[in-house]
Protein backbone atom coordinates (compact mmCIF):
# COMPACT_ATOMS: atom_id res chain seq x y z
CA UNK A 1 0.00 0.00 0.00
CA UNK A 2 1.22 3.54 -0.72
CA UNK A 3 2.57 5.72 2.05
CA UNK A 4 -0.13 8.28 1.37
CA UNK A 5 -2.64 9.15 4.04
CA UNK A 6 -5.83 11.07 3.48
CA UNK A 7 -5.59 14.10 5.72
CA UNK A 8 -7.55 17.18 6.55
CA UNK A 9 -5.27 20.21 6.17
CA UNK A 10 -5.40 21.03 9.86
CA UNK A 11 -4.52 17.50 10.97
CA UNK A 12 -1.81 17.27 8.35
CA UNK A 13 -0.08 20.43 9.54
CA UNK A 14 -0.19 19.15 13.10
CA UNK A 15 1.35 15.81 12.14
CA UNK A 16 3.94 17.54 9.98
CA UNK A 17 4.88 19.76 12.90
CA UNK A 18 5.38 16.74 15.15
CA UNK A 19 7.57 15.14 12.50
CA UNK A 20 9.49 18.40 12.26
CA UNK A 21 10.29 18.03 15.94
CA UNK A 22 7.58 20.18 17.48
CA UNK A 23 7.07 18.97 21.03
CA UNK A 24 5.23 21.89 22.57
CA UNK A 25 1.89 23.25 21.47
CA UNK A 26 -0.24 25.86 23.17
CA UNK A 27 -3.64 26.81 21.85
CA UNK A 28 -7.15 28.02 22.38
CA UNK A 29 -10.17 26.79 20.42
CA UNK A 30 -11.42 28.73 17.42
CA UNK A 31 -13.08 27.58 14.20
CA UNK A 32 -11.90 26.67 11.55
CA UNK A 33 -8.62 25.35 12.97
CA UNK A 34 -9.71 23.28 15.98
CA UNK A 35 -8.50 20.04 14.43
CA UNK A 36 -4.93 21.23 14.97
CA UNK A 37 -5.41 21.48 18.74
CA UNK A 38 -7.41 18.28 18.85
CA UNK A 39 -4.77 16.39 16.90
CA UNK A 40 -1.98 17.80 19.05
CA UNK A 41 -3.88 16.94 22.24
CA UNK A 42 -4.07 13.37 21.06
CA UNK A 43 -0.63 12.94 19.51
CA UNK A 44 1.87 15.04 21.46
CA UNK A 45 1.68 12.82 24.52
CA UNK A 46 2.65 9.81 22.40
CA UNK A 47 5.94 11.46 21.43
CA UNK A 48 6.79 12.83 24.86
CA UNK A 49 5.54 16.31 24.07
CA UNK A 50 3.28 18.72 25.89
CA UNK A 51 -0.11 20.14 24.91
CA UNK A 52 -1.66 22.92 26.95
CA UNK A 53 -5.02 24.51 26.25
CA UNK A 54 -4.57 28.02 27.58
CA UNK A 55 -7.25 30.30 29.01
CA UNK A 56 -7.01 32.63 26.01
CA UNK A 57 -5.02 33.27 22.89
CA UNK A 58 -3.20 35.97 24.82
CA UNK A 59 -2.02 33.45 27.36
CA UNK A 60 -1.30 30.75 24.79
CA UNK A 61 1.10 32.88 22.78
CA UNK A 62 2.86 33.95 25.97
CA UNK A 63 3.32 30.30 26.82
CA UNK A 64 4.92 30.02 23.40
CA UNK A 65 7.22 32.91 24.30
CA UNK A 66 8.25 31.14 27.51
CA UNK A 67 8.66 27.74 25.86
CA UNK A 68 10.63 29.13 22.92
CA UNK A 69 12.85 31.07 25.31
CA UNK A 70 13.48 27.89 27.26
CA UNK A 71 14.64 26.20 24.05
CA UNK A 72 11.57 24.18 23.06
CA UNK A 73 10.47 23.54 19.49
CA UNK A 74 7.07 25.13 19.78
CA UNK A 75 4.02 25.84 17.66
CA UNK A 76 0.73 27.65 18.07
CA UNK A 77 -2.25 27.91 15.78
CA UNK A 78 -5.38 29.95 15.61
CA UNK A 79 -7.65 31.76 13.21
CA UNK A 80 -7.97 35.46 12.50
CA UNK A 81 -9.59 36.91 15.65
CA UNK A 82 -7.32 34.74 17.78
CA UNK A 83 -4.24 35.81 15.85
CA UNK A 84 -5.22 39.44 16.45
CA UNK A 85 -5.19 38.77 20.18
CA UNK A 86 -1.66 37.39 19.90
CA UNK A 87 -0.09 40.39 18.22
CA UNK A 88 1.42 41.85 21.39
CA UNK A 89 3.37 38.73 22.22
CA UNK A 90 4.33 38.15 18.59
CA UNK A 91 6.02 41.54 18.72
CA UNK A 92 7.81 40.48 21.93
CA UNK A 93 8.85 37.18 20.36
CA UNK A 94 10.26 38.95 17.30
CA UNK A 95 11.95 41.56 19.50
CA UNK A 96 13.51 38.93 21.75
CA UNK A 97 14.40 36.87 18.66
CA UNK A 98 12.77 33.60 19.58
CA UNK A 99 11.98 30.80 17.14
CA UNK A 100 8.44 29.49 16.86
CA UNK A 101 5.88 28.58 14.24
CA UNK A 102 2.46 30.25 14.16
CA UNK A 103 -0.33 28.87 11.99
CA UNK A 104 -3.19 31.16 10.96
CA UNK A 105 -6.12 29.44 9.27
CA UNK A 106 -7.62 32.70 8.17
CA UNK A 107 -11.38 33.31 8.33
CA UNK A 108 -13.54 36.22 7.32
CA UNK A 109 -13.23 39.50 9.18
CA UNK A 110 -13.04 42.22 10.41
CA UNK A 111 -14.28 41.69 13.94
CA UNK A 112 -15.97 38.42 14.69
CA UNK A 113 -16.59 38.03 10.97
CA UNK A 114 -17.44 34.51 9.93
CA UNK A 115 -15.92 31.06 9.83
CA UNK A 116 -15.58 30.71 6.07
CA UNK A 117 -12.20 31.01 4.34
CA UNK A 118 -10.49 34.34 3.78
CA UNK A 119 -7.11 35.87 2.96
CA UNK A 120 -7.80 39.18 4.65
CA UNK A 121 -5.02 38.78 7.23
CA UNK A 122 -2.31 39.32 4.62
CA UNK A 123 -1.51 42.82 5.84
CA UNK A 124 -1.47 41.71 9.46
CA UNK A 125 0.86 38.82 8.67
CA UNK A 126 3.27 40.50 6.28
CA UNK A 127 3.29 44.12 7.41
CA UNK A 128 3.30 43.71 11.16
CA UNK A 129 0.20 43.58 13.29
CA UNK A 130 2.05 44.05 16.50
CA UNK A 131 4.05 47.16 17.36
CA UNK A 132 7.55 48.01 16.30
CA UNK A 133 9.88 47.29 13.39
CA UNK A 134 9.76 43.56 12.94
CA UNK A 135 8.99 40.97 10.32
CA UNK A 136 7.51 37.52 10.34
CA UNK A 137 8.56 35.05 7.72
CA UNK A 138 5.19 34.19 6.15
CA UNK A 139 4.54 31.09 4.05
CA UNK A 140 1.32 30.49 2.12
CA UNK A 141 0.85 26.84 1.05
CA UNK A 142 -1.61 26.02 -1.73
CA UNK A 143 -1.90 22.30 -1.12
CA UNK A 144 -1.90 20.20 1.99
CA UNK A 145 1.22 18.42 0.83
CA UNK A 146 2.98 21.75 0.39
CA UNK A 147 1.83 22.80 3.86
CA UNK A 148 3.41 19.64 5.29
CA UNK A 149 6.64 20.17 3.38
CA UNK A 150 6.82 23.83 4.42
CA UNK A 151 6.34 22.92 8.07
CA UNK A 152 9.82 21.44 8.39
CA UNK A 153 11.23 24.43 6.53
CA UNK A 154 9.35 26.76 8.84
CA UNK A 155 10.85 25.24 11.98
CA UNK A 156 14.29 25.15 10.45
CA UNK A 157 14.12 28.80 9.40
CA UNK A 158 12.68 29.83 12.76
CA UNK A 159 15.72 28.33 14.46
CA UNK A 160 18.27 29.56 11.94
CA UNK A 161 17.08 33.16 11.99
CA UNK A 162 15.71 33.08 15.54
CA UNK A 163 12.50 34.56 14.22
CA UNK A 164 8.82 33.61 14.32
CA UNK A 165 7.52 32.01 11.13
CA UNK A 166 3.87 32.12 10.17
CA UNK A 167 2.08 29.63 8.00
CA UNK A 168 -0.79 31.62 6.54
CA UNK A 169 -3.48 29.26 5.42
CA UNK A 170 -7.14 29.86 4.97
CA UNK A 171 -10.08 27.91 6.27
CA UNK A 172 -10.27 25.95 3.03
CA UNK A 173 -6.69 24.69 3.37
CA UNK A 174 -7.49 23.73 6.94
CA UNK A 175 -10.76 21.96 6.29
CA UNK A 176 -10.30 20.22 2.95
CA UNK A 177 -8.87 16.73 2.61
CA UNK A 178 -6.08 15.58 0.33
CA UNK A 179 -3.70 12.65 0.31
CA UNK A 180 -0.26 13.44 1.68
CA UNK A 181 3.01 11.67 2.14
CA UNK A 182 4.73 12.71 5.34
CA UNK A 183 8.47 13.11 5.65
CA UNK A 184 10.33 10.83 8.06
CA UNK A 185 10.34 12.22 11.61
CA UNK A 186 13.32 14.40 12.34
CA UNK A 187 16.05 13.07 14.60
CA UNK A 188 15.73 15.45 17.54
CA UNK A 189 19.21 14.67 18.77
CA UNK A 190 20.60 16.25 15.63
CA UNK A 191 18.98 19.63 16.14
CA UNK A 192 21.51 22.40 16.75
CA UNK A 193 21.90 23.39 20.43
CA UNK A 194 20.38 26.62 21.73
CA UNK A 195 23.02 28.01 24.07
CA UNK A 196 21.03 31.21 24.52
CA UNK A 197 18.00 29.47 26.07
CA UNK A 198 16.87 29.85 29.68
CA UNK A 199 17.78 26.40 30.82
CA UNK A 200 19.43 27.26 34.15
CA UNK A 201 22.84 28.93 34.30
CA UNK A 202 24.83 26.05 35.78
CA UNK A 203 28.39 26.42 34.54
CA UNK A 204 27.85 29.49 32.40
CA UNK A 205 26.88 33.14 32.53
CA UNK A 206 23.19 33.78 32.90
CA UNK A 207 20.97 34.12 29.84
CA UNK A 208 18.36 36.79 29.43
CA UNK A 209 15.43 36.69 27.03
CA UNK A 210 14.14 40.22 26.66
CA UNK A 211 13.10 42.91 24.21
CA UNK A 212 13.65 45.91 26.46
CA UNK A 213 16.16 48.56 25.37
CA UNK A 214 15.59 51.85 27.14
CA UNK A 215 18.63 53.56 25.64
CA UNK A 216 17.60 54.96 22.22
CA UNK A 217 21.05 54.28 20.79
CA UNK A 218 20.93 50.66 21.92
CA UNK A 219 17.41 50.15 20.60
CA UNK A 220 18.37 51.78 17.32
CA UNK A 221 21.33 49.42 17.03
CA UNK A 222 19.14 46.45 17.95
CA UNK A 223 16.55 47.39 15.33
CA UNK A 224 19.16 47.80 12.62
CA UNK A 225 20.65 44.48 13.56
CA UNK A 226 17.19 42.94 13.18
CA UNK A 227 16.83 44.72 9.83
CA UNK A 228 20.13 43.23 8.71
CA UNK A 229 18.71 39.82 9.58
CA UNK A 230 15.55 40.59 7.62
CA UNK A 231 17.71 41.67 4.68
CA UNK A 232 19.39 38.26 4.72
CA UNK A 233 16.00 36.62 4.80
CA UNK A 234 14.88 38.71 1.81
CA UNK A 235 17.99 37.60 -0.02
CA UNK A 236 17.80 33.91 0.78
CA UNK A 237 14.26 32.84 1.55
CA UNK A 238 12.14 34.01 -1.34
CA UNK A 239 9.90 31.19 -2.56
CA UNK A 240 7.47 31.20 -5.46
CA UNK A 241 6.18 29.23 -8.40
CA UNK A 242 5.72 30.52 -11.96
CA UNK A 243 3.52 28.52 -14.30
CA UNK A 244 4.01 29.05 -18.03
CA UNK A 245 6.43 31.88 -17.52
CA UNK A 246 8.07 30.99 -20.84
CA UNK A 247 5.15 31.96 -23.06
CA UNK A 248 2.39 33.57 -21.04
CA UNK A 249 1.34 37.15 -21.71
CA UNK A 250 -1.30 37.50 -19.02
CA UNK A 251 -0.59 36.41 -15.49
CA UNK A 252 -2.70 35.53 -12.54
CA UNK A 253 -1.08 36.40 -9.24
CA UNK A 254 -2.54 34.40 -6.37
CA UNK A 255 -1.54 32.36 -3.34
CA UNK A 256 -3.08 29.58 -1.27
CA UNK A 257 -6.53 28.33 -2.13
CA UNK A 258 -7.09 31.06 -4.70
CA UNK A 259 -4.01 29.94 -6.63
CA UNK A 260 -5.73 26.57 -7.08
CA UNK A 261 -8.78 28.28 -8.57
CA UNK A 262 -6.61 30.43 -10.86
CA UNK A 263 -4.65 27.36 -11.94
CA UNK A 264 -7.85 25.59 -12.96
CA UNK A 265 -8.93 28.64 -14.98
CA UNK A 266 -5.47 28.97 -16.49
CA UNK A 267 -5.54 25.36 -17.66
CA UNK A 268 -8.95 25.79 -19.22
CA UNK A 269 -7.94 28.98 -21.06
CA UNK A 270 -4.68 27.50 -22.27
CA UNK A 271 -6.61 24.66 -23.86
CA UNK A 272 -8.28 27.41 -25.86
CA UNK A 273 -4.89 28.77 -26.89
CA UNK A 274 -4.92 31.77 -24.59
CA UNK A 275 -1.45 32.46 -23.21
CA UNK A 276 -2.14 32.70 -19.50
CA UNK A 277 0.33 32.02 -16.71
CA UNK A 278 0.41 32.19 -12.94
CA UNK A 279 2.74 33.68 -10.40
CA UNK A 280 2.19 32.04 -7.06
CA UNK A 281 4.03 33.60 -4.13
CA UNK A 282 4.85 30.92 -1.57
CA UNK A 283 6.79 33.19 0.75
CA UNK A 284 4.42 36.12 1.28
CA UNK A 285 7.14 37.79 3.29
CA UNK A 286 9.71 38.08 1.88
CA UNK A 287 7.57 38.87 -1.15
CA UNK A 288 8.98 37.36 -4.37
CA UNK A 289 9.63 40.55 -6.36
CA UNK A 290 12.08 38.63 -8.53
CA UNK A 291 9.31 36.45 -9.97
CA UNK A 292 7.91 39.54 -11.70
CA UNK A 293 11.31 40.49 -13.10
CA UNK A 294 11.44 37.12 -14.82
CA UNK A 295 8.27 37.76 -16.83
CA UNK A 296 7.94 41.54 -16.98
CA UNK A 297 9.34 41.91 -20.52
CA UNK A 298 6.68 39.71 -22.07
CA UNK A 299 3.79 40.33 -19.68
CA UNK A 300 0.88 42.45 -20.83
CA UNK A 301 -0.78 42.59 -17.45
CA UNK A 302 -1.24 40.96 -14.06
CA UNK A 303 -4.53 40.00 -12.44
CA UNK A 304 -4.22 39.61 -8.71
CA UNK A 305 -6.98 37.48 -7.22
CA UNK A 306 -7.47 37.35 -3.49
CA UNK A 307 -10.06 36.57 -0.86
CA UNK A 308 -9.78 40.15 0.40
CA UNK A 309 -10.58 43.64 -0.82
CA UNK A 310 -7.04 43.96 -2.11
CA UNK A 311 -4.03 43.42 0.11
CA UNK A 312 -1.34 41.43 -1.68
CA UNK A 313 -2.10 43.49 -4.78
CA UNK A 314 -0.18 46.34 -3.16
CA UNK A 315 2.96 44.22 -3.08
CA UNK A 316 2.32 43.20 -6.67
CA UNK A 317 2.16 46.88 -7.66
CA UNK A 318 5.39 47.60 -5.82
CA UNK A 319 7.08 44.73 -7.61
CA UNK A 320 5.72 45.72 -11.03
CA UNK A 321 6.49 49.36 -10.25
CA UNK A 322 4.20 50.89 -12.84
CA UNK A 323 5.72 49.02 -15.76
CA UNK A 324 2.61 47.00 -16.56
CA UNK A 325 -1.05 47.26 -15.61
CA UNK A 326 -2.01 45.47 -12.43
CA UNK A 327 -5.63 44.48 -11.95
CA UNK A 328 -7.46 43.12 -8.99
CA UNK A 329 -10.36 40.82 -8.32
CA UNK A 330 -11.45 39.89 -4.84
CA UNK A 331 -14.22 38.30 -2.85
CA UNK A 332 -14.41 38.49 0.92
CA UNK A 333 -16.14 37.25 3.99
CA UNK A 334 -16.00 33.59 3.07
CA UNK A 335 -17.23 34.06 -0.47
CA UNK A 336 -14.70 32.26 -2.65
CA UNK A 337 -13.96 33.51 -6.19
CA UNK A 338 -15.56 31.02 -8.58
CA UNK A 339 -13.63 29.77 -11.62
CA UNK A 340 -16.27 31.34 -13.84
CA UNK A 341 -15.98 34.79 -12.27
CA UNK A 342 -12.19 34.66 -12.33
CA UNK A 343 -12.24 33.72 -16.01
CA UNK A 344 -14.66 36.53 -16.80
CA UNK A 345 -12.46 39.04 -15.02
CA UNK A 346 -9.38 37.90 -16.91
CA UNK A 347 -11.18 38.19 -20.24
CA UNK A 348 -12.37 41.70 -19.35
CA UNK A 349 -8.80 42.60 -18.54
CA UNK A 350 -7.54 41.20 -21.82
CA UNK A 351 -10.25 43.10 -23.70
CA UNK A 352 -9.29 46.32 -21.96
CA UNK A 353 -12.72 46.60 -20.37
CA UNK A 354 -11.37 47.02 -16.87
CA UNK A 355 -10.05 50.45 -15.90
CA UNK A 356 -6.35 49.86 -15.65
CA UNK A 357 -4.35 50.45 -12.50
CA UNK A 358 -7.36 51.10 -10.34
CA UNK A 359 -8.99 48.92 -7.81
CA UNK A 360 -11.87 47.06 -9.31
CA UNK A 361 -13.88 45.65 -6.56
CA UNK A 362 -16.78 43.39 -7.03
CA UNK A 363 -19.60 45.79 -6.36
CA UNK A 364 -22.98 44.70 -5.07
CA UNK A 365 -24.63 42.77 -7.85
CA UNK A 366 -21.45 43.12 -9.88
CA UNK A 367 -21.21 41.47 -13.24
CA UNK A 368 -18.51 39.10 -12.12
CA UNK A 369 -20.77 36.81 -10.13
Amino acid sequence: MSESVLMKGNEALAEAAIRAGCRYYFGYPITPQNEISEYMARRLGEVGGVFVQAESEVSAINMVYGAAGAGGRVMISSSSPGISLMQEAISYIAGAELPCVIVNMCRGGPGLGGIQPSQADYFQATKGGGHGDYRLIVLGPATIQEGCDLMATAFEMADRYRNPVMILGDGMIGQMMEPVVFPEPLDLTKLPPKPWATSGNEGRKKNLISSIYLDPEELDAHNWRLEEKYRKIRENEVRYEILHGDDAEWFFVAYGTVARICTAVMQKLRRQGIKVGLIRPISLWPFPDEAFEKVIDRAKGFLTVEMSTGQMVEDVRLAVDGRRPVYFYGRTGGAVPTPRSVERRLREMMDGKVPSQTDYFDRVGGAAR
Partner: protein, 226 residues
Amino acid sequence: MSQVTVFYGLYGSGKSEISINYALSLARQGRAVTVVDLDAVTPYFRVRDVREKLLEQGVKVVAPKESVRHADLPVLPEGIRRVLMHGEGDVVVDVGGDPTGARVLGGLRDALRPGARGLFVVNAMRPFSRTLDQAEEAVRRVTSAAGLPPSGLVSNTHLGDLTQMEHILYGLEFANSLGSRLGIPVVMVGVPAHLRSEVEKTAESLQGVTPLYLERYLLKPWETEE
Protein backbone atom coordinates in the same frame (compact mmCIF):
# COMPACT_ATOMS: atom_id res chain seq x y z
CA MET B 1 -40.05 -1.19 3.80
CA SER B 2 -38.71 2.19 4.77
CA GLN B 3 -35.74 2.46 7.01
CA VAL B 4 -33.59 4.85 8.98
CA THR B 5 -29.89 4.53 8.12
CA VAL B 6 -27.33 6.32 10.25
CA PHE B 7 -23.82 6.85 8.91
CA TYR B 8 -21.26 7.53 11.57
CA GLY B 9 -17.48 7.26 11.84
CA LEU B 10 -14.33 9.23 12.32
CA TYR B 11 -13.70 12.69 10.91
CA GLY B 12 -13.02 12.55 7.21
CA SER B 13 -14.06 8.94 6.67
CA GLY B 14 -16.42 10.11 3.92
CA LYS B 15 -19.76 9.94 5.75
CA SER B 16 -21.24 12.96 4.03
CA GLU B 17 -20.46 11.83 0.50
CA ILE B 18 -21.72 8.35 1.41
CA SER B 19 -24.92 9.80 2.86
CA ILE B 20 -25.54 12.00 -0.18
CA ASN B 21 -24.87 9.22 -2.68
CA TYR B 22 -26.82 6.64 -0.74
CA ALA B 23 -29.83 8.96 -0.48
CA LEU B 24 -29.63 9.64 -4.22
CA SER B 25 -29.38 5.93 -5.03
CA LEU B 26 -32.56 5.31 -3.03
CA ALA B 27 -34.28 8.21 -4.78
CA ARG B 28 -33.32 6.77 -8.15
CA GLN B 29 -35.13 3.57 -7.12
CA GLY B 30 -38.22 5.70 -6.76
CA ARG B 31 -38.22 5.76 -3.00
CA ALA B 32 -39.13 8.74 -0.83
CA VAL B 33 -35.93 9.83 0.89
CA THR B 34 -35.01 12.41 3.47
CA VAL B 35 -31.38 13.10 4.29
CA VAL B 36 -30.64 14.62 7.68
CA ASP B 37 -27.55 16.78 8.17
CA LEU B 38 -26.77 16.10 11.79
CA ASP B 39 -23.20 17.34 11.56
CA ALA B 40 -22.81 19.94 14.28
CA VAL B 41 -19.02 19.85 14.43
CA THR B 42 -17.64 20.41 10.92
CA PRO B 43 -17.57 23.95 9.58
CA TYR B 44 -17.19 23.23 5.86
CA PHE B 45 -18.11 20.49 3.36
CA ARG B 46 -21.46 19.47 4.79
CA VAL B 47 -24.65 18.03 3.32
CA ARG B 48 -26.40 21.38 3.78
CA ASP B 49 -23.92 22.90 1.32
CA VAL B 50 -25.49 20.87 -1.53
CA ARG B 51 -29.10 21.18 -0.39
CA GLU B 52 -30.28 22.49 -3.79
CA LYS B 53 -28.71 19.70 -5.79
CA LEU B 54 -30.40 17.12 -3.56
CA LEU B 55 -33.78 18.84 -3.78
CA GLU B 56 -33.47 18.90 -7.57
CA GLN B 57 -33.14 15.14 -7.52
CA GLY B 58 -36.09 14.62 -5.24
CA VAL B 59 -34.28 14.15 -1.94
CA LYS B 60 -35.61 16.09 1.02
CA VAL B 61 -32.98 17.76 3.17
CA VAL B 62 -33.33 18.38 6.87
CA ALA B 63 -30.57 20.70 8.00
CA PRO B 64 -30.09 23.79 10.14
CA LYS B 65 -31.98 26.65 8.56
CA GLU B 66 -30.25 28.92 6.10
CA SER B 67 -29.88 31.86 8.50
CA VAL B 68 -27.54 29.87 10.73
CA ARG B 69 -25.96 27.74 8.02
CA HIS B 70 -22.55 29.35 8.52
CA ALA B 71 -22.89 30.00 12.23
CA ASP B 72 -20.03 28.84 14.41
CA LEU B 73 -22.55 27.02 16.59
CA PRO B 74 -23.69 23.45 17.01
CA VAL B 75 -27.18 24.03 15.63
CA LEU B 76 -29.63 21.16 15.28
CA PRO B 77 -32.10 21.12 12.41
CA GLU B 78 -35.63 22.15 13.30
CA GLY B 79 -38.05 19.27 13.53
CA ILE B 80 -35.27 16.75 13.84
CA ARG B 81 -37.04 14.53 16.34
CA ARG B 82 -40.17 14.40 14.23
CA VAL B 83 -38.20 13.34 11.16
CA LEU B 84 -36.31 10.62 12.99
CA MET B 85 -39.50 9.29 14.54
CA HIS B 86 -42.15 9.80 11.90
CA GLY B 87 -40.32 10.85 8.74
CA GLU B 88 -41.89 9.52 5.58
CA GLY B 89 -39.98 6.95 3.62
CA ASP B 90 -36.30 6.33 4.07
CA VAL B 91 -34.26 8.56 6.29
CA VAL B 92 -30.51 8.86 5.86
CA VAL B 93 -28.69 10.48 8.76
CA ASP B 94 -25.22 12.03 8.31
CA VAL B 95 -23.65 12.27 11.75
CA GLY B 96 -20.63 14.48 12.58
CA GLY B 97 -17.26 12.82 12.91
CA ASP B 98 -15.63 11.24 15.96
CA PRO B 99 -17.32 10.68 19.32
CA THR B 100 -17.69 14.46 19.47
CA GLY B 101 -19.96 14.50 16.47
CA ALA B 102 -21.68 11.23 17.39
CA ARG B 103 -22.74 12.63 20.77
CA VAL B 104 -25.35 14.70 18.95
CA LEU B 105 -27.11 11.53 17.90
CA GLY B 106 -26.71 10.21 21.42
CA GLY B 107 -28.94 13.05 22.59
CA LEU B 108 -31.62 12.06 20.07
CA ARG B 109 -31.33 8.34 20.54
CA ASP B 110 -34.84 7.91 21.92
CA ALA B 111 -36.30 9.56 18.81
CA LEU B 112 -34.89 6.95 16.43
CA ARG B 113 -37.46 4.69 14.84
CA PRO B 114 -37.21 0.99 15.77
CA GLY B 115 -35.10 -0.86 13.26
CA ALA B 116 -32.81 2.10 12.65
CA ARG B 117 -29.44 0.77 11.56
CA GLY B 118 -26.08 2.28 12.32
CA LEU B 119 -23.47 1.86 9.61
CA PHE B 120 -19.91 2.69 10.58
CA VAL B 121 -17.91 4.22 7.74
CA VAL B 122 -14.26 3.27 7.77
CA ASN B 123 -11.40 4.62 5.68
CA ALA B 124 -8.14 2.78 6.31
CA MET B 125 -6.18 5.61 4.69
CA ARG B 126 -7.09 7.99 7.53
CA PRO B 127 -5.09 8.60 10.70
CA PHE B 128 -6.54 6.87 13.77
CA SER B 129 -8.07 4.10 11.66
CA ARG B 130 -5.02 2.76 9.84
CA THR B 131 -4.69 -0.37 11.96
CA LEU B 132 -7.36 -2.83 13.01
CA ASP B 133 -6.76 -2.00 16.67
CA GLN B 134 -7.26 1.69 16.00
CA ALA B 135 -10.36 1.07 13.91
CA GLU B 136 -11.90 -1.24 16.51
CA GLU B 137 -11.30 1.38 19.17
CA ALA B 138 -12.85 4.01 16.89
CA VAL B 139 -15.98 1.92 16.34
CA ARG B 140 -16.34 1.39 20.07
CA ARG B 141 -15.93 5.07 20.94
CA VAL B 142 -18.08 6.51 18.18
CA THR B 143 -20.97 4.08 18.40
CA SER B 144 -21.17 4.28 22.17
CA ALA B 145 -21.20 8.09 21.99
CA ALA B 146 -24.02 7.79 19.45
CA GLY B 147 -25.90 5.34 21.66
CA LEU B 148 -26.51 3.13 18.64
CA PRO B 149 -24.64 -0.17 18.27
CA PRO B 150 -23.31 -0.70 14.75
CA SER B 151 -25.20 -3.15 12.60
CA GLY B 152 -22.69 -3.05 9.75
CA LEU B 153 -19.64 -1.47 8.22
CA VAL B 154 -19.23 0.65 5.14
CA SER B 155 -15.83 0.20 3.60
CA ASN B 156 -14.84 3.59 2.26
CA THR B 157 -11.08 3.37 2.00
CA HIS B 158 -9.89 5.97 -0.47
CA LEU B 159 -7.23 8.59 -1.13
CA GLY B 160 -9.33 11.27 -2.74
CA ASP B 161 -8.45 11.77 -6.39
CA LEU B 162 -5.58 9.31 -6.13
CA THR B 163 -7.83 6.38 -5.27
CA GLN B 164 -7.01 3.22 -7.21
CA MET B 165 -8.58 -0.21 -7.31
CA GLU B 166 -5.88 -1.48 -4.96
CA HIS B 167 -7.11 0.94 -2.27
CA ILE B 168 -10.67 -0.31 -2.64
CA LEU B 169 -9.61 -3.93 -2.35
CA TYR B 170 -7.25 -3.29 0.52
CA GLY B 171 -10.00 -1.38 2.30
CA LEU B 172 -12.50 -4.17 1.79
CA GLU B 173 -10.13 -6.71 3.22
CA PHE B 174 -9.48 -4.36 6.14
CA ALA B 175 -13.22 -3.86 6.71
CA ASN B 176 -13.84 -7.63 6.53
CA SER B 177 -11.24 -8.25 9.22
CA LEU B 178 -12.68 -5.47 11.32
CA GLY B 179 -16.17 -6.90 10.81
CA SER B 180 -15.08 -10.35 11.98
CA ARG B 181 -13.58 -8.86 15.10
CA LEU B 182 -16.80 -6.99 15.84
CA GLY B 183 -19.15 -9.68 14.63
CA ILE B 184 -20.87 -7.43 12.09
CA PRO B 185 -21.00 -7.61 8.28
CA VAL B 186 -19.59 -5.27 5.69
CA VAL B 187 -22.76 -4.11 3.98
CA MET B 188 -21.49 -1.58 1.50
CA VAL B 189 -18.31 -0.52 -0.21
CA GLY B 190 -17.79 3.01 -1.50
CA VAL B 191 -16.33 3.12 -5.01
CA PRO B 192 -15.41 6.38 -6.75
CA ALA B 193 -17.37 6.66 -9.99
CA HIS B 194 -14.21 6.63 -12.10
CA LEU B 195 -13.52 3.05 -10.96
CA ARG B 196 -16.99 1.81 -11.82
CA SER B 197 -16.10 0.06 -15.07
CA GLU B 198 -13.10 -1.57 -13.46
CA VAL B 199 -15.25 -2.98 -10.66
CA GLU B 200 -17.94 -4.14 -13.03
CA LYS B 201 -15.36 -5.96 -15.15
CA THR B 202 -14.44 -8.12 -12.20
CA ALA B 203 -17.69 -8.40 -10.33
CA GLU B 204 -16.35 -11.01 -7.96
CA SER B 205 -13.64 -8.63 -6.75
CA LEU B 206 -15.94 -7.09 -4.14
CA GLN B 207 -16.75 -10.50 -2.67
CA GLY B 208 -20.45 -9.92 -2.88
CA VAL B 209 -20.46 -6.65 -1.01
CA THR B 210 -22.76 -4.09 -2.63
CA PRO B 211 -20.86 -1.25 -4.23
CA LEU B 212 -22.07 2.32 -3.74
CA TYR B 213 -20.74 4.31 -6.67
CA LEU B 214 -19.75 7.75 -5.50
CA GLU B 215 -20.11 10.95 -7.46
CA ARG B 216 -18.45 13.76 -5.58
CA TYR B 217 -20.79 16.48 -4.45
CA LEU B 218 -18.77 18.35 -1.82
CA LEU B 219 -16.35 20.02 -4.19
CA LYS B 220 -13.45 22.35 -3.62
CA PRO B 221 -13.87 25.75 -5.27
CA TRP B 222 -11.50 24.91 -8.15
CA GLU B 223 -13.28 21.66 -8.89
CA THR B 224 -16.51 23.35 -9.89
CA GLU B 225 -17.46 24.63 -13.31
CA GLU B 226 -19.36 27.59 -11.89
